[in-house]
């Protein structure tokens, strides 16, 4: 007797522990995702708010006015400063320049004026001081690392004419995120009077003013309107500016929050499933115990109440731990993301009421519901019948089968309908609508789960049966004996794998398409570009590269927009290269006509532009205004170019004789020259130029891929958590099943199943469940991926469906390995139980 009591208590601790961990993990994931989202949004707000802090009135240029072309003038600034009620005012502007690095290469940089009113600065001093003379500068702290600069160092800036200007770094500052600081260039501040030497076109885009004490923002606006006039300006109070800035960010960060919210939702579903499943099994196992309680006189309400009370207490405590765990997860993720981007980002952990509510909603509510449903069922049965009942109840599945199938069919129809709807849409709408449709289809499969388990299990079971014989046969039987339980256990994993493979397929397809396009469009071995966007490559560089013995062919690429009437359907951005390059180094997909031997005065237009302008092969494209007006003959329609059309260099120079230079130079090596040798030879030329950077098609592809991979990595990490929880669910189910089947295992051992075979049996069962979830998930994910690719793909932006077989193989393998790990504990426990002790178990 004592033995059974002890065994009971021990089994119960294990069960309580397992269900608590299930709740904790679920809560941790949900709250972690929410805290992370809130933290990132908060960070963005803080960053952006720096542009509007301290500002009482902001003036920007709007509409036609005297300064709409040139930007705010010094005269206007002086007028503002003299206006009554103004304590201080400053101009915001920037100048693009090139920063010479130690290696002699130029990096894009932008210099802004140091605001004379300290409150109006958008940046905070980190180290040293702000410049006090025209030869001093303070740089963004980030530039210290990215451009390898140090305090006290002498730096050189190149102006547009390659003139050199030296400055000494006297300080560093930290700035908020704004449209400019988010760009890739290095930032520095100079005294306002130092700016004009870098460019004669310093364009002040905003004028900010601080009010004197006692002057309201509205009064100041009124005063300013009087002194500067209203024509051509837009006045905003600081308050309005802040509201507008924040609106901008929440739109921006909104996308990210939505993404995180979608993950939180998935986390919620997965967590709910694991918790529900655990409790269903627990209460099912306690059916006899509950029945016994009723036999000795407990009322149905008392029994039900005791189960609920236990669930509430357990749910509450596990939720508290889970909530803290979630905050930890969020801190960890922020640190990881921070270390990726190289910023020393602050870890923010805002815990909003929503997060707390969600945590306890998941932890307590779902736990109670999960406990209540099976407990109700258990207490509804007559106590004596329950005492006699078999623990397995496979008939139940058959009973609810029809209702289930009807529901699934409805979900399927709805999903198919929504997908069909989404297929007809474009871009974002297509993504969202089609995506929702696929999620409905996923819900259908989850609903159908118990019905699918049988056949899928039979198919999957063939391999282990052939490999391992009887233990595998028994395992397959066990995996299929309670389809509802197996379905619920595998559903969590299935959802996770579906999402991962869906995202992976879509991303890979987009990636493959992009690199195929790169191949198609850039048949060159490599491309030389300018490291600074505003400073194009020059003819002498082209000549030098062409003179390199290893080089076979070169082709320059230039882009320009001929003048046109505002809103003309013919306003176009054209790209130009040499005539020989067409059909050779420049090889877009030709829709109609031919581009080979494209002559001066002819144009090959993109299919997008063809649609917009209504032009076709044989048509005429008028370009330019007045003296430079010219009619171009459309000889081809092509796909896969960024511009509206392709023309020859001569055509370009006809519009603008002072062509500033080339955006890029394509280089094709002579036959037999390796890329390495060729690159080395060309690098000798480019190294001599401060701005020329060599960039090959392969590297472009690699760049594209790393970008996509970074996003994928983030998604994999989040979903990875969901998958871990799902795998924990498998371990949970298995452990509970092992406890439930103690006598059965003992019987098998008595009949001659060795310990090793018993463990093997459990491992195979675990692997079967995991592969079931993973396999269905993969099929769904790839299928949904195909649907999404079809929906996103359009004539102008065709995406080729591509399945990343390697990654899918890795996923399947990971599922198998993880399942083996998940089975390790329960298998050990099962192996340890002695035959006789097992037989004694009730």
């Amino acid at each position: 007797m004592l033995k059974t009591i002890i065994a009971g208590v021990r089994a119960r601790t294990a069960r309580l522990l397992l269900s608590s961990i299930a709740i904790m993990l679920g809560v941790a994931f949900v709250s972690g995702t929410l805290v992370l989202g809130d933290g990132i949004t908060e960070g963005m707000k803080d960053e952006f708010a720096k542009t509007s802090r301290g500002v009482d009135v902001s003036m920007s240029l709007a509409g036609e006015g005297p300064e709409s072309e040139t930007g705010f003038s010094q005269a206007t600034l002086d007028k503002v400063r003299d206006t009554p009620g103004v304590q201080g005012a400053d101009l915001r502007s920037y100048v693009s320049a090139a920063l010479l690095t130690a290696s002699g290469k130029a990096k894009p940089a932008s210099a802004g004026p140091l605001a004379s009113t300290p409150e109006l600065r958008e940046y905070d001093l980190k180290d040293g001081r702000f410049p006090t003379s025209a030869t001093e500068t303070a740089v963004d702290v980030r530039a210290l690392a990215t451009a390898k600069l140090s305090m006290g160092q002498q730096i050189t800036l190149l102006d547009m004419e390659d003139g050199k200007h030296s400055f000494t770094i006297v300080g560093t500052f930290a700035q908020g995120a704004n449209s400019m600081s988010l760009g890739g260039s290095e930032h520095l501040v100079l005294l306002p009077e130092a700016l004009p030497q870098l460019s004669d076109k310093v364009r002040g885009y905003e004028l900010v003013a601080k009010a004197a004490p006692g002057v309201t923002q509205e009064q100041l606006v009124a005063n300013l309107k009087k002194s500067t006039g209203e024509q051509g300006y837009k006045f905003q109070t600081g308050e309005q500016l802040t509201v507008e800035t924040l609106k901008q960010i929440s739109e921006r960060s909104g996308e990210f929050t939505q993404l995180l919210l979608a993950f939180a939702l998935i986390a919620l579903v997965v967590a709910a499933m694991v918790i529900y499943n655990t409790f269903t099994i627990l209460v099912a196992q306690r059916t006899r115990e509950l029945a016994l309680m009723r036999c000795v006189g407990a009322s149905r309400g008392q029994v039900f109440g005791s189960v609920l009370a236990e669930a509430v207490v357990m749910g509450f405590f596990a939720s508290v731990i889970g909530l803290f765990g979630g905050i930890g997860v969020s801190a960890l993720m922020q640190t990881v993301i921070g270390s990726f981007s190289g910023d020393n980002t602050v870890v923010r952990l805002p815990v909003t009421p929503t997060t707390v509510l969600a945590a306890f909603g998941v932890g307590v509510l779902i736990t109670v519901i999960s406990a209540a449903l099976p407990a109700r069922k258990a207490t509804k049965v007559a106590p004596v019948a329950a005492l006699r009942a078999q623990l397995d109840s496979s008939e139940e599945v058959a009973r609810t089968g029809t209702l289930r199938i009807v529901f699934a069919v409805l979900l399927g129809l709805a999903g198919a309908g929504v997908v069909y709807l989404g297929m007809g849409m474009e871009e974002e709408a297509a993504l969202i609508i089609t995506g929702s449709g696929t999620m409905l289809l996923l819900a259908m499969v989850v609903t159908l789960g118990p019905v699918l388990v049988g056949p899928v299990n039979r198919v999957l079971g063939v391999v282990p049966k052939a490999l391992f014989g009887v233990p595998a046969k028994l395992a397959s039987g066990n995996a299929g004996r309670n389809p509802k339980r197996t379905a619920a256990t595998t559903a969590a994993l299935m959802i996770g794998v579906t999402i991962v493979s869906l995202v992976t397929v879509v991303a890979t397809s987009a990636k493959e398409t992009a690199s195929a396009e790169v191949d198609q469009r850039f048949p060159a071995d490599y491309t030389v570009t300018s490291s600074i966007y505003s400073r194009p490559l020059q003819q002498d560089l082209l000549d030098k590269i062409a003179a390199v013995p290893e080089v076979g062919k070169v082709a320059p690429m230039a882009g320009f927009s001929p003048e046109s009437d505002e809103n003309s359907q013919y306003s176009a951005y054209l790209e130009a290269t040499t005539p020989e390059a067409f059909g050779d180094l420049v090889r877009p997909k030709v829709v109609s006509g031919s581009i080979t031997g494209l002559k001066d005065g002819e144009v090959a237009i993109s299919s997008n532009f063809a649609k917009r302008s209504g032009l076709a092969v044989g048509g005429t494209l008028p370009q330019g205004l007045g003296a430079t007006k010219k009619d171009l003959k459309v000889v081809a329609v092509v796909d896969g170019i960024d511009s509206s059309g392709l023309v020859t260099m001569a055509t370009l120079t006809a519009f603008d004789p002072e062509t500033p230079g080339f955006r890029s130079i394509m280089v094709k090596l002579k036959d037999g020259v390796t890329t390495e040798a060729g690159r080395a030879a060309v690098e000798k030329v480019t190294d001599a130029s401060p701005i020329a950077v060599i960039d090959s098609a392969a590297e472009t592809k690699a760049q594209l891929n790393t970008q996509v991979d970074q996003v994928l990595g983030f998604i994999w990490a989040l979903i990875g958590l969901a998958v871990i929880i799902a795998l924990f669910g498998i371990a949970n189910t298995l452990t509970l099943s092992v406890l439930e089947r103690t006598r059965e295992s003992a019987l098998l051992r008595a009949l001659g199943l060795t310990k090793g075979q018993l463990r093997l049996m459990l491992v195979v069962e675990s692997v079967l469940m995991a592969v079931m979830g993973a396999a269905i998930g993969l099929v769904l994910g790839v299928g949904f991926g195909w649907i999404l690719v079809k929906a996103l793909s359009s004539d102008s932006f065709p995406i080729t469906f591509d399945v990343p077989f390697g990654q899918i193989g890795v996923m399947l393998l990971a599922a198998v390995v993880a399942a083996m790990i998940a089975a390790a504990m329960p298998a050990r426990r099962a192996g340890r139980t002695s035959v006789v002790a097992g037989m004694a178990e009730a």
Binding site: E744, R749, A750, L751, G752, L753, T754, K755, V835, V836
Partner: protein
């Protein structure tokens, strides 16, 4: 006692199973329970032996030790010519599946397998092919022919025990151990099972060792071994329900 030892010495002739000075202690220190206090007993091949005794006398413990389901704290057990005390778990498992058949009081069958699969489970674990003729004989004698495809949950208690008997016999084991095989059955189903066990001994030459506390069940056996407080307390040849009952009364007194 020396007689018993010499009996086990004669390999495979007479004694199918023999125990000498078998000791089994549960727990340690003050709470230790000496479930078997030096039991020496031999079971002849081709005979139906019942182990009887009051509740808690050590019947199940003795059977577990004899069948190699539990390790012993002293003495030895031989099955056929093999000493099983001291074998490791793996060899014991092999021995069980090759040479022993089991019928338990309850929970004899795997719920996931059909009756037929349950009957053949032991053979399958051993990787042996069933003897078709022998299988048919057993199934027909036990009247299980039209129940073969059923799952255990679709069988009555008596039918389940008969399936367990079929499983125990289909591999032609050296010995069949049955622990209260009729304990959960009504008297008619119980009688059917006991009839079958006796028939398997008389007609098919099986060796059966059955634990029971029911004098009627014991009367089916050729010989009854009485156990009290973990010690042998006599035996009865060709028992009847009455002779067993009175022997038990003596034990209790």
């Amino acid at each position: 006692m020396s007689a018993v030892v010499s009996e086990t010495g004669r390999v495979g002739t007479q004694a199918a199973v023999a125990a000498s000075s078998l000791v089994k202690v549960y727990g340690k220190g003050d709470t230790a329970v000496r479930a078997l206090g030096g039991v020496s007993v031999a079971f002849q091949a081709g005979k139906f032996t019942a182990i009887m005794g009051p509740s808690g006398s050590g019947k199940s413990t003795l059977m577990h030790c004899l069948a190699g389901l539990d390790n012993v704290d002293g003495g030895s057990v031989h099955i056929g010519g093999t000493e099983i005390t001291g074998l490791n778990d793996k060899d014991l498992t092999k021995l069980r599946r090759d040479r022993i058949g089991f019928v338990f009081q309850a929970f004899n069958l795997l719920p996931t397998l059909s009756a037929e699969a349950n009957i053949l489970l032991g053979l399958e674990l051993a990787g042996r092919k069933p003897d078709k003729q022998w299988f048919d004989t057993i199934v027909d004698v036990l009247g299980l022919r039209d129940r073969l495809k059923h799952k255990p949950s679709e069988l009555s208690g008596g039918q389940q025990q008969r399936v367990a008997c079929a499983r125990a016999l289909v591999a032609r084991p050296d010995v069949v151990f049955a622990d209260e095989p009729t304990g959960n059955l009504d008297s008619r189903s119980g009688a059917e099972v006991l009839d079958f066990l006796r028939m398997s001994v008389r007609k098919l030459g099986q060796t059966v060792i059955m634990v029971t506390h029911d004098p009627v069940a014991a009367s089916y056996a050729d010989r009854v071994v009485l156990l009290a407080d973990g010690h042998l307390a006599g035996e009865i040849q060709n028992p009847t329900a009455d002779s067993v009952l009175s022997a038990l009364k003596h034990l209790g007194a």
